[in-house]
Subunit: 247 residues, 2 copies
DNA sequence: AGTCATTCAGGTACCATGTACGCAAATGGA
DNA sequence: TCCATTTGCGTACATGGTACCTGAATGACT
């Protein structure tokens, strides 16, 4: 292989597209990525090591480097594979609220199916084709509302910020429990519980106490809570769109 | 040391508080944490290894484990130390918008001083005393607006989601450049640039193109951009508060 | 003062990780 | 048939977290 200049994984052609002399590749980026995703889903990203992925494929760890330059690039591929599961119509329906609600739900579903997705997505600047596709759909939902591109980008950002954070809140502590090796119930009761109880009983943070003790939304099902927050964001956006304000 | 049951780091007493027989501790959690923060600031979290921190302190790696059960707990301590730098008045001023703007700016400053802070903070469910202090201040800013605790929690969440994401957007690609070992300018031009150019020239994502090419806010100074987004969030919150709506 | 349980310092060691390097096997063009 | 090229992958190295162990320090009790 020629000296690979360091550039985005999306610029580097797949091995099997080549024609000419040389041994035919026995694997593919997609196959490797799919395997990595399966392992990460079942046991966490930290279990998706090069050796483990290769083992699952019945090959040696170093073989993977014929397809992926660095492990970080594999993360980008994993993100994009997960994003590819987000099914959206070809174009906006004209109902921006409905379109964005659909997108938010699909994103949440993908985030729950792949508990590592949001953490990876927000921890590195990646722009895979499927992320672009999804992002374009979000932007397009505001087409026809008379907003300029900066406002559209801002609103889509607001929505993304909420969706990502909400998903993180929903699964964050579950992932932490898994990482520490405790089962979630034990983690909540024995690990985090005593500290929170002590903080609450100290009375040092009265509003925090109210948010823990007096919350009604805390007892909602996760999906309801997600929907609640989503509606609030969409309400906020609607309130800021002049052309929609006098409704 | 007695068999430590696995519980939050904040529940485990410092060694120097103990009285009774035994050698006196030569270090402290604070000292260790401060060293870790310095290294992480200068070279990234991944450089703040147990060996490296211990080396900086002139001791052996295993000595640190007398003060910190696991490396992850050290992360919690680092987060809290960074949060302790966020200076806030003792109570809300009555001007919720001003209070939250102050908080947002202080958070941004801490996030820029410690480029690893937001990534750690949002990647694990942690609740150190300084995070609680800051969170309590945010909640208290809405005291007296007649909102119930769930709405307050929701708005503070909206604000936090924005602030964290905005900081991440501001430094995310710089961190990525550092991780890959390229200087930021090269990374943008040689690594990410060619791909983005190809995407733009393909014309496949017209609204994405407009957001890249026609954006006015993209050319603002980072601080202005942050302020822009912050104002939009605060506007959105204001628009949702019934008691403030008819202004 | 002497004894001793207790605690700290830190070296050694084990295992897992990403990945550089090199060589043999496979493959298609000349 | 030859050979440049590419893949498969074993070996090896540097680096990581941390379990375990020994020896030194220290205060309480006799």
């Amino acid at each position: 292989m020629a000296d690979e200049e360091p550039t985005s994984i999306w610029m580097q052609p797949e091995a099997h597209e080549r024609s000419g002399p040389g041994r035919r590749p026995g694997y593919s980026r997609e196959q490797i990525t799919r395997t990595a995703v399966q392992i990460a889903d079942a046991e966490g990203v930290e279990a998706a090591t090069m050796r483990r992925i290769a083992g699952e494929l019945g090959t040696g760890a170093m073989s993977l480097y014929r397809y992926v330059p660095r492990r970080d690039d594999l993360f980008d591929l994993m993100i994009d594979l997960a994003m590819s599961e987000i099914e959206l119509p070809d174009g906006p329906s004209g109902d921006w609220r409905g379109d964005l609600t659909l997108l938010a739900r699909q994103t949440r579903a993908a985030g729950l199916r792949h508990p590592w997705l949001i953490a990876l997505l927000t921890s590195r600047p990646t722009l895979g084709p499927n992320l672009l596709r999804v992002h374009e759909f979000a932007l397009s939902a505001f087409n026809g509302t008379g907003l300029d591109i900066d406002d559209i980008t801002g609103f889509v950002g607001m929505l993304n910020d909420y969706v990502h954070s909400a998903i993180r809140r929903e699964i964050g502590w579950l992932e932490e429990a898994r990482r520490t090796g405790l089962d979630p119930e034990r983690w909540k009761r024995d690990y985090m519980g005593p500290y929170v109880r002590q903080v609450v009983e100290s009375g040092a943070f009265p509003l925090f106490n109210r948010s823990v003790l007096d919350s009604r939304t805390a007892h909602l099902a996760p999906e309801e809570r997600f929907r609640h927050g989503l509606d609030r964001i969409l309400d906020a956006i609607a309130a800021l769109i002049p052309s929609l304000r006098p409704r």
